[in-house]
Symmetry: C2
Subunit: 213 residues, 2 copies
């Protein structure tokens, strides 16, 4: 039995400080105990799939903050002025990332958008970054995230892409499944085709949900 | 856009009752709000990987109960009379399931044991069930579970098998990596060989941690 050389450092102090910051931000909305659990579990779940571990504590704090916002929204304690769209694919490294970015590009702040994966991948596909950069969309701060209960709960519309059975069904939401090719199996031209297909669908969806005034 | 035919039913009432039962069981140890979050997030995370959805709410309640026990243990509010061993592999469908079952077989209640996967599989491998049944070990009530922060926290010894980088590192624990073949890539004879290798390692480990009196 060999001593185990470990890829991750003890991040307890960093995550404890992140929990304190978020507990202060969500004071009166979510208890400090729940905040701490969401932060540490966000870290653990991102650590399971992420390839690059260097920025994991910062990503975990960001992800936890968004999950807590979603929780506050679903409890009616944080206002949700715009329709919330959730895109879910398997890895959150291609289709759902493109859909979320294009939704923001197309509809701006007429809607809010989140994305997630049923089996989050290690990184966003380079070809996806490339075809979005052609639309001047930068995914630098995006990363594959697992589908969590809090995020589903906050959504008004859930669009699944290749992972329908993996998403909890809650009443009062609109669920749709979009049948799209998987960018992981395509060359750049193929990914560009999926991007344009997503853009056409997103334009229809956002125009329906939140028409231009 | 087609209406989405969904594989999962709305389980909110079932999970709400499960949350109430667990909140009562963990009263004074974990807040009702945190219990509810652990139950619903356990459901969401199992739904992402499980192939059979029929028993998911019951599995989610069981998994949440074990996670809350682990949380209570790591906070010193639930006694932990024996060393706690955690086995982690990629899918929690082969190696770590065998190791956990064999540990119970070999060491009985001299130790407690848990297992988890960094990318939980859809089901436990049939060949793994078969070679364990040859030892009169029944995995009927076992299922692949994701590696969560609470379970890592409660462990005294963490044994990783093919997924070292995916496991958070906390101080005061013993980490070891066991280099074993992946049963998913072996025939039954190969799985039997891995089982016997695991048994030899488990006997050494448990004799060291908790010698027979």
């Amino acid at each position: 039995m060999s001593t185990f050389e470990h890829g991750l450092a003890d991040v307890t102090p960093i995550l404890t400080r992140a929990s304190e910051r978020l507990a202060s931000r969500f004071d009166g909305i979510v208890s400090a105990e729940t905040v701490e659990r969401v932060v540490f579990e966000s870290y653990a779940t991102l650590a399971r799939s992420a390839r690059i571990t260097e920025h994991l504590p910062a990503l975990a704090e960001h992800f936890a903050g968004d999950r807590l916002t979603a929780l506050g929204q679903s409890r009616g304690m944080i206002p949700k002025p715009h329709p919330e769209i959730l895109f879910v694919c398997v890895q959150n490294s291609g289709r759902s990332q493109m859909a979320a970015a294009i939704t923001t590009l197309v509809a701006g702040d007429r809607v809010n958008v989140r994305s997630a994966g049923s089996q989050p991948g290690e990184f966003i596909l380079p070809a996806v970054r490339e075809v979005l950069s052609e639309l001047d969309v930068d995914l630098a701060h995006q990363y594959p995230k697992p589908l969590t209960d809090d995020i589903v709960r906050a959504a008004d519309v859930v669009i699944t892409m290749g992972c329908g059975d993996a998403c909890p069904l809650y009443p009062g939401k609109r669920y749709e499944d979009w049948d799209l090719e998987d960018p992981a199996e395509l060359d750049v031209d193929g990914v560009r085709r999926v991007r344009d297909e997503i853009r056409a669908r997103v334009e229809r969806l956002t125009e329906e949900l939140a028409p231009r005034s």
